[in-house]
Symmetry: C2
Subunit: 309 residues, 2 copies
């Protein structure tokens, strides 16, 4: 009744000081830090939609399945604690696929000081489905919500955008370390991670905050991959359009007041390279591009199929 | 960018006093009770394996997806707090299917005082996949583990067993209320829920506790459905064999010392009807049936495809 995969899990999954009871019982028991609130998020990834088994390295698929959830914790400024992993494996080669997926997840979990505390492993005649639930913690009231941006706050982003399909969508580093450091050193009014496209996720943050935003398009950090994609496809979609609408950059958008931003970059000039100011929140709803002294409507674009609830 | 389903979630999901931030942000924020530890479990259910879309009522499928997780919380004596629901919907009719699944889950969540705090809704060209993560809480040290049974403890079970395929597998009540009440009134050394078969799950509890168990087979509560199934199939599998090996009863197995059991039924005679003593744990490993004054080996049987980690 003991089976190979279960034994492999027990031997392979590292222990974690906050996981009092891990894989192998009906549920995991986890101790949060004193006074902390629980932050919980879940994401389901499917073969043929979010990755392709046979084309992509299963270690990278495992990394991605965990990292998309870590990115959600980062967007809340939550410290990762534990993950639960559900797999629906194709019958053919399912066990070795499961091990490879875990071998992709385990180093990523370790990098962000997170346990893999349990899960549910199944097989069927269909394609691979992975669901990861990530559990983190925040001190009460210190989470970054989408709804906290204020008019005249500046729009900051980490990293660069566009062309993630060339590889970053599988290998990206979730901005957990950046978020936890920033949460201690910068007053952030609101945040979201860019899973479905810079303009689309910014529009979601705007809507949650009851605001709009005006962007200086020339300031948007366009990834080299966006330029490569635009060059190679020759389909008339510019690198900037890729940066605005490609999904899966997994960078953060932050809302910060101008005075706080000035103080912060004065004290921490090294962050000038890591946070880019791309625009400003405003009372007028919608997204706009700043063209000289007037605003032009900007249609939010991105990946709309995944409907986070 | 606001879509119908997301709006429907926001309008339909009830609020909960412990959910500080629910569906609609990057993650949920949940406040556990003072000093409590988090209990977390996850289960993935697939069309064609755990239910059949088109054959089974989607409200019942929704109930089942949540209730299998509630059963895991019950097996830990954990109080339910919140659930996260991931759906992978077939493109055809996906939105109305999603609503029906939620309409099955919402009353069940309410019945056990649990929030649906968020999730991830996707569509694809494959069959329906549902993953639910259930989050509960226990006071430190008070969870029921599989590993705590002691030699000479009695084996108790709730309810009756076998034939769940005739309907109970979709409509069963998870034993949450029973577990929470028992945790306050009875010293339970170990517990497990019967998801894969009475004998198989008892064998798992035995293995986790480093023990075996000897059963009085004539005392095992055989469900009426097990008799119906045996009658209708005429395949030579007796009602008792169904009770021992059919999966998805979602009853509890409990280990209780003889003295504590005697005290408990003395003080709470009404529980004589609700808890059945079926045998005894022992140092000798394996499952055994008590036949007169000797023991006969009993092969654990059940559903082995779902490999809980």
């Amino acid at each position: 009744m003991e089976n190979d995969l279960l034994r492999w899990f027990r031997e392979t999954l590292p222990s974690h000081r906050q996981v009092l009871l891990g894989a192998g019982d009906d549920a995991a028991v986890i101790k949060l830090s004193e006074g902390a609130n629980l932050v919980a998020t879940t994401d389901m990834l499917m073969d043929g939609v979010d990755f392709r088994v046979g084309e992509h390295d299963p270690l990278q698929i495992g990394h991605k399945a965990l990292a998309v959830n870590l990115s959600d914790l980062a967007a809340m400024a939550a410290r990762p604690v534990a993950a639960l992993v559900s797999l629906c494996l194709p019958r053919q080669g399912g066990e070795s696929l499961a091990k490879a997926l875990y071998q992709g997840m385990i180093p990523t979990a370790a990098q962000y000081d997170m346990a893999i505390a349990g899960g549910d492993t199944n097989s069927w005649d269909g394609p691979l489905v992975i669901n990861v639930t990530a559990l983190g913690e925040v001190q009460p009231g210190s989470e970054w919500r989408r709804s906290g941006a204020r008019a005249d706050d500046l729009v900051f982003v980490t990293g660069s955008f566009g062309g993630s399909i060339l590889g970053k969508h599988l290998t990206f580093p979730p901005r957990v370390h950046e978020a936890l450091w920033l949460a201690e050193h910068l007053e952030v009014h609101a945040a979201i991670d860019v899973s479905d496209g810079l303009s689309l996720d910014l529009a979601r943050l705007c809507e949650a905050s009851g605001l709009g935003a005006a962007l200086q398009l020339e300031k948007i950090p366009v990834a080299e991959a966006a330029m490569l994609l635009s060059d190679s496809r020759q389909d008339g979609i510019s690198p900037l359009e890729h940066a605005l609408s490609d999904g899966e950059d997994f960078e953060l958008i932050l809302a910060v007041s101008p005075a706080e931003a000035a103080r912060f970059v004065g004290e921490h000039p090294e962050w000038k390279q890591r946070l880019t100011e791309i625009g400003r929140f405003q009372e007028t709803a919608g997204l706009w591009s700043i063209e000289g002294d007037h605003l032009k409507p900007l249609q939010p674009r991105g990946w709309e199929h995944r409907l986070d609830s």
